[in-house]
């Protein structure tokens, strides 16, 4: 009965490859936004699959916030070099000049300069008209309505009421000068799908995702890395076996207590997990609807 029937994962894979090829055919200067995270690692694999045996016909772009985990920089350099993908790094020059950080400023202000500002300027700098991102609709309520081709105006901003209907697998790529799109080939993937795919495909993943003994501090219910910049109090730091479910900047990425030190164990853990992955992101629950507000400004 299952002959000529693709499994769930292979169907998602086929859909993503189709999207990569459509964009490569219809846009001038695409880039793949690579954050080192699990989702962008899957994106890289899918991009290679879409164009094999040729090389991926566009570069990766890494937006550096200067607060990323050191492991992320190492993994980026080693992994991308090993598979021969060119990667540009962009840092918003306003970040250092304002000495922007999440301790003296709010997390929103920090994100707005380093992430959103860095992303928008980086895209402009490289003349990008289509940026692949690893966002998934399952992640957050406002993302549930995101299109696969997400249109941004000349300021890079997203207007939820002015998105194009997407029917079948027909994507409307027509745009005016200055308009850009964000493309989300993983729109229909869940966190579990991503991990199962990483397992199935044996995709190298940064060590932060695996449970290890780490020095952490506990603040406002979040388990955060004991980074010196976070100025940990005397006796606040403790060693906890934990892993990161979603990775970003050191000061704002919470960990979960976990014993999962292999991919199958991570998958098992997810199957019984009852907290959504973004619950460990400090920025998302600053206020109800904060993701939607960020997206409107130009963030993912």
């Amino acid at each position: 009965m299952n002959r000529y029937r693709l499994s769930h994962l292979r169907e998602l894979e086929a859909e993503a490859i189709h999207i990569f090829r459509e964009v490569a055919a219809e846009f001038e200067r695409p880039v793949l936004l690579y954050s080192v995270g699990k989702d962008s690692s899957v994106l890289i694999r899918l991009a290679r699959k879409a164009f094999a045996p040729a090389k991926v016909p566009f570069p990766a772009l890494f937006i550096d916030t200067s607060f990323k985990f050191p492991e992320m920089y190492t993994h980026r350099d080693e992994y991308l070099t090993s598979i021969g993908i060119e990667c540009f790094t962009y840092t918003n020059p306003e970040g250092p000049s304002l000495d922007m950080n999440p301790f003296d400023f709010s997390t929103q202000q920090c994100c707005s300069v380093w992430k959103t500002g860095g992303l928008l300027k980086g895209l402009t700098e490289h003349g990008v008209d289509a940026a692949f991102g690893g966002a998934r609709r399952e992640e957050e309520k406002s993302r549930a309505k995101e299109r696969i081709y997400s249109f941004r105006d000349t300021q890079g901003q997203w207007d939820p009421k002015n998105q194009r209907p997407e029917l079948w697998n027909l994507y409307n790529a027509r745009r005016k000068p200055g308009e850009t799109i964000r493309v989300f080939p993983l729109s229909n993937w869940t966190e579990l799908d991503v991990w199962q795919y990483i397992h199935l495909e044996q995709i190298p993943i940064v060590d932060l995702y695996f449970a290890r003994e780490r020095d952490m501090v506990e603040r406002k219910g979040l388990l955060l890395p004991a980074d010196p910049r976070a100025r940990p109090q005397e006796g606040e730091v403790k060693t906890v076996k934990c892993r990161f479910r979603s990775i970003g900047c050191v000061p704002c990425t919470g960990a979960i207590r976990s014993e999962a030190d292999t991919i199958p164990k991570i998958i098992e853990e997810l199957m019984v997990e009852r907290v959504s992955e973004r619950a460990t992101r400090a920025i998302d629950h600053d206020q109800e609807g904060s993701m939607e507000l960020k997206k409107r400004e130009g963030y993912f």
């Binding site: 299952n2 000529y4 029937r5 693709l6 499994s7 769930h8 994962l9 292979r10 169907e11 894979e13 086929a14 859909e15 490859i17 189709h18 090829r21 459509e22 490569a24 055919a25 290679r48 699959k49 879409a50 164009f51 094999a52 045996p53 040729a54 090389k55 609709r137 399952e138 309520k141 406002s142 549930a144 309505k145 939820p160 009421k161 998105q163 194009r164 209907p165 997407e166 029917l167 079948w168 697998n169 027909l170 409307n172 027509r174 745009r175 005016k176 229909n188 869940t190 579990l192 199962q196 397992h199 998958i267 098992e268 199957m271 997990e273 907290v275 959504s276 619950a279 109800e288 939607e292």
Partner: protein
């Protein structure tokens, strides 16, 4: 546990759409599914619990308003409605589910269509207290229009009608009656209460009279495998992969059918045939590929293939056409304009297209058709005729969702303004062809004319004449018709057989649907030429009397009828003379601006450069002109006397 991991890797997917408004309890039902399948997380539940202040929810003794798990955008929560398609995900050990959650209000027909376009099953909600509403009918119609073959009707809020079997049965019966007018082969009904959880995941004990499955079980069990088209291989080339000069792979997705290594294939539009040398993927070569796989095909011969081309099996080809009819759901704020131009995006092709006509608009609430409608408004559904500047490779939507669907894009705003589904019938001659150019069908079957069966020599011998078309061209009222009929009389007297094709007479029958724009005029003359040729094939002499003002039009007529059988006759009466004797008022109306495109007045008339003969009936009279034509025919060897061998 590892077994569980693998089980999930091999599970297949069901994509379904949900239609209904907040009032039907749709968000609550989805929230319930997510919650009971553990796809809603504790932090999301806690947030929903914090925000729950809906009295009916509290009154039902529930702690959580499940709809809060799903209504995503702030604007929606403010308005208490769902304004866009939202996608949700959950899974059971047996299947993974993708929900396209669409709003139910009338103004959101476009969202319903969007959500339904990728679904294989539709879930329709009915409030048990309200029964089948106008909105329910609209949902069912759109489900059917978008080609969804499985439909589950959830009769919700059974707790508010005391779990009454009678209420349920009445709704089933009313909906079933309506559904007979639609094309939904698999229809199921479930009585449930999303709020209380009856028959959602677990079988309810409060409705022992219901012997069917609970909703989730139905969704797990529904067999959608046979919905896919595995017969007709269609492969639209997306991208050409050329890492070096030795390798050329055509990247694309298998839209339908199965392709195997070694298969003979044909590439459209070139119609060149070759074989599949390899089916490549990143993970290695494959022996065969099927939908919806994304692969790369290498061909045995080096052909010129690019994006937009289609690879098919030579014995199973799509229709190659520039003209088609389709049902269109209008998504744009500005209404569809008949005669308007749009981009059509179909498979991997983007071509310019013109809306030739609007056959009718469907009232989605009553299913009645309005053939008088002048345009298609936002959320309207209508049947249109479309012409494209280049041929598309199409199938009917009901046979092939991929090659049967397209979107329309506004030329100025770039917005996606229409979603189209091709209609099965492909009768080009039935189209009201206000078609601007003549087209050469790439794969038009070679015509079998009657002449092939009874030889033209035989007919010529019997009728003592060789068939020919005399094509009389000239200004309106220049005397073409009078000369034509005078010649017909002369031929008849001499024992020959001719027939006059006259503009005015033919217009009333053959071309009653056409106007006088250059495009319509071209199509009118194409039809006339085909008839002239048919008469010639039957052995008759055709006397065609048409203004036919351009050289292009006349040379097309010459091509279609055949060089050997075509004599161009210029009826060259001057404009003043023609205008003075014009009783139909054509010139007068043209000069007053009432008529457009009148050659000689407000449109050019291009005189023939090398006609077989030039007539001046204004000087010679009609009889003399007709006699001159008779001599021309005799000299050309088209006529034989009763005694000649």
């Amino acid at each position: 546990m590892t077994r569980l991991v693998e089980q999930h890797q091999s599970a297949n997917t069901l994509r379904f759409s949900t239609c209904g408004s907040v009032d039907d309890g749709k968000s609550t039902l989805i929230g319930r599914l997510l919650h009971d399948c553990k796809a809603a997380f504790e932090d999301q539940l806690a947030a929903a619990k914090r925000l729950t202040n809906n009295e009916s929810v509290r009154a039902a003794g529930e702690e959580i308003d499940f709809s809060l798990l799903t209504d995503g955008l702030m604007a929606e929560r403010e308005q208490g409605i769902t304004i866009d398609v939202a996608y949700r995900y959950f899974s059971t050990p047996r299947r993974k589910f993708i929900i396209a959650d669409t709003p139910g209000h009338e103004q959101y027909t476009r969202n319903m269509a969007t959500g339904a376009s990728t679904a294989s099953l539709a879930l329709i909600l009915i409030d048990a207290r309200k029964g089948v509403l106008t909105q329910t009918r609209r949902h069912a119609f759109i489900t059917s229009l978008l080609g969804i073959r499985h439909c589950v009707v959830c009769v919700n809020k059974m707790d508010l009608v005391d779990y009454s079997q009678q209420v349920f049965d009445e709704i089933v019966s009313e909906f079933s009656d309506f559904a007979t007018r639609l094309n939904v082969p698999d229809l199921e009904f479930v009585p449930l209460s999303a709020l209380k959880g009856d028959n959602v995941v677990e079988q309810s004990t409060r409705m022992p009279w219901y012997v069917g499955k609970p909703l989730l079980r139905l969704l797990e069990d529904v067999h959608t495998g046979s919905d896919r088209n595995l017969i007709d291989f269609r492969y639209a080339v997306q991208y050409v992969i050329r890492p070096d000069l030795d390798y050329r792979g055509y990247a694309g997705s298998v839209a339908s059918g199965i392709v195997r290594k070694g298969d003979e294939v044909m590439v459209l539009p070139s119609r060149k045939k070759t074989r599949i040398a390899r089916i490549d993927t990143f993970d290695g070569e494959l022996e065969e590929a099927y939908p919806p796989m994304s692969v790369s095909l290498c061909l045995e011969d080096e052909l010129d293939v690019s994006r937009g081309d289609m690879i098919v099996h030579p014995r199973n080809q799509p229709h190659v056409t520039r003209h088609f009819e389709a049902m269109v759901v209008w998504l744009g704020e500005r209404k569809l304009r008949v005669g308007g131009n749009y981009w059509v995006k179909h498979t991997t092709q983007s071509v310019r297209a013109k809306i030739e006509s609007l056959r009718y608009v469907v009232d989605v609430n009553t299913l009645s058709r309005d053939p008088e409608a002048q345009g298609l408004e936002l959320n309207g559904i209508g049947r249109v005729v479309i012409s494209t500047v280049r041929p598309l490779y199409v199938d009917a939507y009901r046979d092939n969702r991929s090659t049967g669907s397209f979107v329309l894009i506004d030329l100025l705003t770039n917005a996606t303004v229409g979603a189209g589904m091709l209609i099965e019938r492909q009768p080009e001659d039935e189209l009201p062809s206000a078609i601007a150019e003549w087209h050469d069908e790439v794969d038009a079957p070679k015509e079998t004319s009657s002449a092939d069966l009874v030889g033209s020599e035989e007919r010529a011998a019997r009728l003592r004449q060789k068939p020919v078309t005399l094509w009389l061209t000239g200004l309106p009222a220049s005397g073409k018709r009078e000369v034509a009929h005078a010649l017909d009389r002369l031929l008849f007297e001499a024992g020959h057989f001719a027939h006059v094709l006259d503009g005015r007479a033919v217009r009333g029958g053959l071309s009653h649907d056409l106007g006088f724009s250059p495009g319509d005029r071209a199509e009118h003359l194409r039809r006339v030429s085909a008839v002239a040729k048919t008469l010639n094939d039957a052995g008759l002499i055709t006397i065609a009397s048409f203004v036919s003002p351009t050289r292009v039009i006349r040379s097309r007529a010459r091509e279609l009828i055949g060089e050997q059988r075509f004599l161009e006759v210029h009826v060259a009466s001057p404009l003043e003379w023609s205008e003075a004797r014009d009783r139909a008022g054509t010139y007068e109306r043209a000069r007053s601006g009432e008529l457009l495109h009148v050659p000689g007045v407000n449109a050019p008339y291009e005189a023939p450069t090398s006609p077989a003969i030039v007539l001046r009936p204004d000087e010679s009279g009609f009889e003399a002109a007709a006699k001159a034509l008779l001599s021309l025919l005799a000299e050309g060897g088209f006529l034989r006397g009763p005694d000649s061998p």
